[in-house]
Amino acid sequence: MITSLRGQSLLSLNEVSRDAILEVLNTAESFVEVNRRTIKKVPALKGRVVASLFFEESTRTRLSFETAAKRLSADVLSLAVASSSVKKGESLRDTIATIDALGIDAVVLRHRSSGAALQVSRYVPHVRVINAGDGQHQHPTQGLLDAFTIRQVLSQRRGTTGLESGGELFEGLRILIVGDIRHSRVARSDIAAYSTLGAEVRVCAPGTLLPDDVEQWPVTVATDFDESLEWADVVGLLRLQAERGSGAFVPSLDEFTFTHGLTVERFARMRPETLIMHPGPMNRGVEVDSRVVDAAAAIVEQQVANGVPIRMAVLYLSVAGSGESS
C-alpha cells in the first residue's frame, strides 16, 4: 500500500491509500492557482528531466502531461510512437534504455499493453514511472483528476474549497459508472479512487461489457439504468470503442445507445444537479447525445483543464518528493 506518492512511481490506484490520494488532490489545488497566473511556471522541477513516451495515440493526456512537466520547469523529452514497439523494430526495453542513457528522472508512459508501466519500472528501477494508461489495466492520473473534479465542483456549490472539503465530501457520494467497464482502464482507476475515498459506486453495462469478476469489485451492479440515473449524484460515462459495437460485444452502436446511451429523454429525467463526466474523447450520439454533451460541457471541460494541475501534482510529488533530490 502506497501511503504517499512522494518519491514513488505511480503505476496503479489499486494500492494507493486514501491519504495518498488526498495528498495529490491537495497538492493539485495549489497548482490550480499557478495555472491562473500570467506566468504559469514554477521552478519545482528545474533541472529535472521527464521523458514522455506515448506508444499509443493520445491527445489530451499527452498534452496535459507535457504541459504539466513544463510548468514545473522540467525538461521534457518527448517520444510518440503510435504503434507497438515490435512494429517499430526496437523493443520497449531498448527504447527505455536509450532514453535512460540520456539521463532522466521520470518516465510518463502510455502503452497499449497492460502491465507495460510495471515492466518499465523493472527495467529502470532508479527512474520514477508514471503510468499514463496501460492497455485495459489502469489510468491512475485520470482517476485522480476525476476525483479532483468532483471535489472541486461540489465544494464550489457548497461555497467552500476543495482543500477545506478534504475527503469527507466523498463519504456516501453516489457515483454511477456506465458503459464498457470490462475493457476500460479509466473505469478501473476511477473505481479504485472513488471507493478508496468512501463513495458508493454502481456500475451499469450490457452483460458482455461487465468484467467477469465484477462481484469482487467494490461496486454494486445495477440492471436498471434509468433508475440508477435518478439515484446517482455523479454519472461517469465511458467511451465505447467502435470495435466493441461491431457485433463483438453488443449487437450495434444503436442498440447500445438504446440500452445504455445517455439520451435527451434520459437526461430530462435526471436530477438537475447530477454531474455528468466523460474522460473523452466522446462518441457523440453513441454513449451520449450531442445535446446532452453541450448541456454537460462545463464539467467535461473542467476535467480536461484539471488534467494539468493533477499531473503537476503527481510529477512534483513523485520526482521532487524523492529524498535524494530535495
Binding site: N14, S84, S85, V86, S91, L92, R93, H111, S113, S114, G115, A116, L118, Q119, R122, D134, G135, Q136, H137, Q138, R182, R185, R188, P211, D212, D213, Q216
Partner: protein
C-alpha cells in the same frame, strides 16, 4: 563399448532391487546384485540413485526447421539428455511445418545425428490450418505414430471426426491441443478475477474443457484412439479420467508448469509465465498434483517451448506463449510426487513407461528407426536408461541451461532430485550431471 551402473536402485513397474546393470553394444547385457563387468567397462556410481527406463517426452518443440535461433534439434537433444530423456517427440509447428514426408524426413535425419531418439509428431491437417487432412499414411510409413496440430486445436468438428476415422486404421494416435480459439482467442492468461484486475484478456478454462468434451464424444463415436495434450484444469483431467474408465481409448499428459505454478505468477506481467493453455488456479494445480499422486496421469510431458530472449522481453500481450521444460521436468515431477516420499515406480511410469506406450516406442510396438523405450531394466532390452539422484539439490539458472533459449519460469528456484546420468541408445550421454 560397455558401461556398468553400480549399485543403483533398479526400478521395475512393481518392485525395485539394488544391483548393477551392464550395458554392452547398445543392449542391456546383464542385471544382477554384483556383476563381473569387462575390465574396459566404464563404471557409473549409481549408489543412492534410481535406475530406470529412460525418460520419453511426448511434447517437445525443437523449433527446427525455421526458428533455429530459439532451438535446434541438436541443442534440444542436449537439453533433453540433461533432463534424463532418451526420446523426444518433436512437435510439428515448425516453419515449414511437419505435415509432409519431406519435412518429417528432414527432422528424422537430423535427429539421427543426435544421441537421442528424435521422433516426430506429424500435423493432422495441411499447414496446421484445420482444413484438409495431412498425408498421415505417408508419414506413418516413416514411423510417425502421433499426429497433432499442437499450438492450436482442430477447431472444425467435422475435420476432427474425419481425422479420427482416417487415423484409426493406420494404427496412429491423434493428439489434441484442447483450446477453442474462438473462446480463448486473444487471451494471454487464465481468465478470472486476476486477469480482470491486471487488464489482461483471459483464456477461460471453458475453452479447454469444451474441446475436451467434444473430442471425448468424437472418440466415442469413432472408436479411435486419442491423446490429450497438456491438460491444465481439474475438470479436464476428471473428464478424461472418467472417459478412460468407461473404456474409451484416451490418454492424457500434464505439463510440469501446470502442476507447479499457478496464475498468480502472471501478477508481475513477466512473459516467462505466459503459456498456452495458461497457468490456472491454485485449485487446478492441487487437482493435477492429486491426479499425479493417484497414478491417474498417463504421462508427464514438458511442452518445452524455447523462445529467443528478445521475443520474451516484450509486453505480456505481445510476447509469444511457451516456456522451457526439458531440463527441470524430472525434478519438478519428483517434487510433485511428494519428494522424498515419491514412489519411484509412479515416477518412471509417468516419465517413461506411460509416454513410451503412447508414442508406441515400447518393444512390442517394434518402432521403425527408433530403439525401444519404456521397458523393464532387463537383459536383452535396448539400453535407454536414466539414473536419477533423489537426494541431489540444485538451483535452476537460466544462463546455465543447454537449451539455446532462456525462457524458464524457474530461474533461481532450488529443486530436489536431479538426473545423474543418461544412457541413450547404449551411449553414456550424461555423466555426473553433465554432458559427456
Amino acid at each position: 563399448m560397455s558401461i556398468v551402473l553400480r549399485q543403483g536402485l533398479i526400478i521395475g513397474p512393481t518392485s525395485s532391487v539394488i544391483g548393477d546393470v551392464l550395458v554392452v553394444d547398445g543392449t542391456i547385457a546383464d542385471v544382477g546384485p554384483a556383476i563381473d563387468a569387462p575390465s574396459d567397462a566404464y563404471e557409473v556410481d549409481a549408489r543412492d540413485c534410481w535406475v530406470g527406463p529412460g525418460f520419453v517426452d511426448l511434447h517437445t518443440h525443437l523449433r527446427e526447421p525455421g526458428r533455429e535461433a530459439a532451438e535446434t534439434i541438436e541443442s534440444g537433444a542436449r537439453a533433453g539428455a540433461l533432463g534424463g530423456y532418451c526420446a523426444l517427440v518433436a512437435m510439428p509447428n515448425t516453419e515449414p511445418c511437419l505435415d509432409n514426408v519431406a519435412t518429417v524426413s528432414y527432422v528424422l535425419a537430423r535427429g539421427a545425428t543426435t544421441p537421442l531418439d528424435i521422433c516426430v509428431a506429424g500435423a493432422i491437417t495441411q499447414g496446421r490450418r484445420g482444413e484438409a487432412l495431412a498425408p498421415m499414411a505417408e508419414m506413418a510409413a516413416l514411423g510417425v505414430r502421433l499426429f497433432s496440430d499442437d499450438g492450436i486445436g482442430v477447431r472444425d468438428p467435422s475435420v476432427m471426426r474425419r481425422a479420427l476415422l482416417y487415423a484409426n486404421p493406420l494404427g496412429v494416435r491423434l493428439a489434441q491441443h484442447c483450446e477453442d480459439e474462438q473462446l480463448a482467442g486473444g487471451g494471454t492468461m487464465n481468465e478470472g478475477a486476476l486477469s480482470s484486475r491486471l487488464g489482461l484478456t483471459g483464456r477461460p478454462a471453458l475453452a479447454e474443457e469444451l474441446m475436451v468434451m467434444r473430442d471425448l464424444e468424437l472418440v466415442r463415436a469413432t472408436g479411435a484412439a486419442m491423446h490429450f495434450l497438456h491438460l491444465s484444469t481439474a475438470r479436464s483431467v476428471a473428464l478424461v479420467v472418467a472417459a478412460r474408465a468407461q473404456g474409451l481409448r484416451v490418454t492424457f499428459e500434464i505439463a510440469p508448469h501446470h502442476f507447479t505454478l499457478d496464475e498468480q505468477c502472471c501478477e508481475g506481467y513477466d512473459p516467462a509465465f505466459k503459456v498456452h493453455p495458461p497457468l490456472r488456479t491454485r485449485d487446478d494445480v492441487a487437482a493435477l498434483v492429486a491426479a499425479l499422486r493417484r497414478g491417474d496421469v498417463d504421462a508427464v510431458a514438458t511442452d518445452h517451448a524455447p523462445h529467443a530472449p528478445e521475443l520474451k522481453d516484450l509486453p505480456f500481450d505481445e510476447a509469444p506463449a511457451g516456456m522451457l521444460g526439458l531440463e527441470h521436468a524430472a525434478s519438478l515431477t519428483y517434487e510433485a510426487l511428494g519428494a522424498p516420499q515419491c514412489d519411484p515406480a509412479v515416477f518412471f511410469q509417468v516419465m517413461s513407461r506411460g509416454p513410451a506406450a503412447i508414442a508406441q516406442l515400447r518393444r512390442e510396438d517394434a518402432p521403425p528407426r527408433h530403439s525401444a523405450h519404456g521397458g523393464s531394466v532387463a537383459p536383452g532390452e535396448d539400453a535407454n536408461l536414466t539414473v536419477f539422484s533423489p537426494s541431489t539439490h540444485w538451483t535452476v539458472s537460466r544462463s546455465a541451461l543447454a537449451s539455446r533459449s532462456m525462457n524458464t519460469p524457474y530461474d533461481g528456484r532450488e529443486l530436489s532430485g536431479r538426473v545423474r546420468a543418461t544412457i541413450a541408445k547404449g551411449r553414456l550421454v550424461v555423466d555426473q550431471e553433465v554432458l559427456t
